[in-house]
């Protein structure tokens, strides 16, 4: 039991930090444009695939550096030539633009890399068990993922709160006109923030690709969860996104490791519904089976009872 709890906690924190790598970019972009970027998970997917391609040519480590740069540049191009033009048509148009972009990016990835999962391998340098906890071997690569996510998280916070660039970015998010009057190039700041957000998502993709499955459906699988994270955390709040990422990471990891169902819980009552009824389905469903819907349940409950999210201050 203790073993399960420890391993699940580690995995949950790891998953949560990965979510935060993406949610942080999404939150920054939201604060900037007031629009949720539907294509954000697509940048994560693109990062994984570009990283895979580079790892085939030059190995994993160049991919870790180059893929986020390439995807970040692609993100900047999208902002410059796509979103900026759509901006005049309003928020709905911007949201729909990113929606269409996500659609197109999935198709493009399918054309170039196919629909089947690609063989993205953990680098040989990290392909060993780091430590053994009771009976479970914990892979070194997962620790590496943890370290990278933590490093970026700390770096991002330090940059936003402790450096001049961070201050200008923060000011540009809330008072773009004032910042422009002070002589800063606000469109350039917006473009860079979008690029950095896309790049962060790509880093998540590169480090998650070998551990999870690198496939063209990975964006569609993760995208909605990402929205749950930023909405539950509070739209526009970075610290809220961190808490929500960890919360959802832990929630899902613990849920999938539990096989309990109502039937187990109330076994003493001797109650057993008729087979082949909806009641029976509900009675026998295990916690692991409902794990995928837990984040959405959390989302709906949160929006009903605390629409600003955990730490947000916006209400629409």
């Amino acid at each position: 039991m203790l073993e399960l709890v420890l391993i699940s906690t580690l995995n949950g924190v790891l998953y949560g930090l990965l979510l935060f790598l993406m949610a942080s970019g999404l939150t920054l972009i939201f604060s900037m444009m007031g629009v949720l970027n539907f294509a954000h998970a697509s940048f994560y997917m693109l990062g994984a695939f570009v990283g895979y391609q580079i790892s085939k040519w030059a190995g994993f480590w160049p991919g870790l550096i180059l893929a986020p740069l390439i995807v970040g540049a692609a993100g900047m191009l999208v902002e410059r030539f796509g979103l900026r033009n759509v901006h005049k048509n309003g928020h709905v148009a911007e949201l729909l633009f990113t929606f269409g972009l996500a659609f197109v990016m999935e198709e493009l990835v399918q054309i170039v890399w196919g629909k089947a999962p690609v063989d993205y391998r953990v680098p040989a340098l990290l392909d060993f068990p780091a430590f053994t906890l009771f009976t479970t071997n914990y892979p070194a690569y997962k620790l590496f993922m943890l370290a990278i996510s933590l490093a970026i998280f700390v770096g991002l916070f330090a940059m936003l709160t402790r450096t001049r660039i961070g201050l200008i970015v923060q000011a540009a998010l809330t008072h773009p006109n004032m910042v422009a009057h002070l002589g800063h190039n606000v469109p350039l700041i917006f473009m860079s923030v979008f690029g950095v957000g896309a790049g962060l998502a790509a880093i998540a993709g590169v480090i998650a690709g070998p551990a999870l499955v690198t496939q063209s459906t990975m964006a569609a699988l993760l995208g909605p969860i990402l929205f749950v994270v930023v909405v539950v955390g509070g739209l526009g709040s970075l610290s809220g996104a961190l808490v929500a990422s960890l919360l959802i990471g832990l929630l899902q990891t613990f849920a999938i490791s539990s096989n309990a169902s109502m039937a187990d819980l109330f076994a003493f009552s001797g109650f057993s519904p008729q087979p082949n009824t909806i009641m029976n389905d509900l009675w026998r469903v295990s916690v692991a089976q409902i794990a995928p819907i837990l984040p959405y349940l959390l989302l709906v409950l949160m929006l009903m009872f605390r629409p600003t999210g955990l730490m947000g201050n916006r209400e629409s």
Binding site: V86, G90, F97, I111, P224, N280, L282, L299, L303
Partner: protein, 438 residues
Amino acid sequence: MSDIPLPKSSVTRVSQRGAEKGLPWWLLPWLASAVVLLALPFIFRSDTYLTVMSLMGIAIVFALSYNMMLGQTGMLSFGHAVYYGLGAYFVVHTMNWAIATRAPIPLPLMPLVGGFAGLAFAIIFGWLSTKRSGTTFSMISLGLAELVGSSSLILRTFFGGEEGVTTNRTKLLRLTDWTFGSQFQMYYLIAGWCLISAIAMYALTRTPFGRMCNAVRENPERAQFVGYNPQVVRYIAFCLSGFFAGVAGALAGINFELANANLFGASQSGTVLLATFIGGIGTFVGPVLGAVLVSYLQVMLSDITEVWQLYFGLMFIAVVMFAPGGLAGLVLMHVPLLRAGVLGRVVPSYLLALIPTAMLLVGVVMLIEMTVQLAVKQSEGPVMKLFGVAFNANLPGPWLVMLMLLAGAFVLFRLISPRMGTAWDNARSAAAERGMVV
């Protein structure tokens, strides 16, 4: 979410003209639609066309119901297929029940079952989601869609797991000798319901409630000052929209004799959003245009190219970027010019713009298809045929042609667009002088 283009209001004109002539001239478009719907199967006789037209009919009802929310009330939903899919499931289960118990319910009434199922779930989910508007509403709709989508894997008895639930539409009570077994008879069932639903939804936009929906879309605060609760208006619009989505889903369930999890998947919700927006959300006919075009492309493009969804997505992005009013919006832009008789002034520059447009299209298609040939269809070798010309995609020649086409289109667009702008401005001010631009 208050920036959706306002539909051209014609309510005052309608009442005036109707009074002058004493003839319900507004009936004409509907009569014409009815005649067209009746005549279509005799013009397009083949089974393929009948199938496509049936799909179009279903898509029209679904897109119109979606536009009740997006276009009329300004609510962007990413989970509208929930009510569509549930409508299909309930109708299939009801049909199976009616077959088993010999309940006297004829097939033509079955879509109502789907409608009420959609309404019931819209009443529940709408209560949760319409408390919020804007981005939050969109996110709740997405979350609810994922919830219902995932629960289909849990409630296996009702949703039938991966395979879904099947039925047989010919075994119900018959009032006439029509069994609805053939696609021909099925088409008329769908066409009938399509027309009834479209009339009902159009009529709804003409009621005070329909006007309040528009008011809530434009400015919820002012709507509140007039004495209406925007939340209630949104809720009612949501429920009614759920009803018609349920009708559309029921028609789909009857048409396929099957209800499965694909019907309320994210891709179904995405498709209806794409179709509605491409057609144009600012007008009533827009979604109809979009539904017809998208259903047609889904069937026809998928025969021609493997990557039809990519073209689909690119088309959507192009509409979002360059024609936010959709196809119907583009047409409507020119109505004042036509009335003022100055449409001829913009035609020459449009004809000129056709050249770079064609170059751009050919270039993009070449780029995509050559990439597909080399990446996806490796086993077929590099020789391919496009627009009736066979060539080798491995040689630099075709790629050069493609690049030249794209570059040429770019340069030509740069040259022509100022001309188009001037022509448009001239025609527009001429129309304004004649009092045709409102």
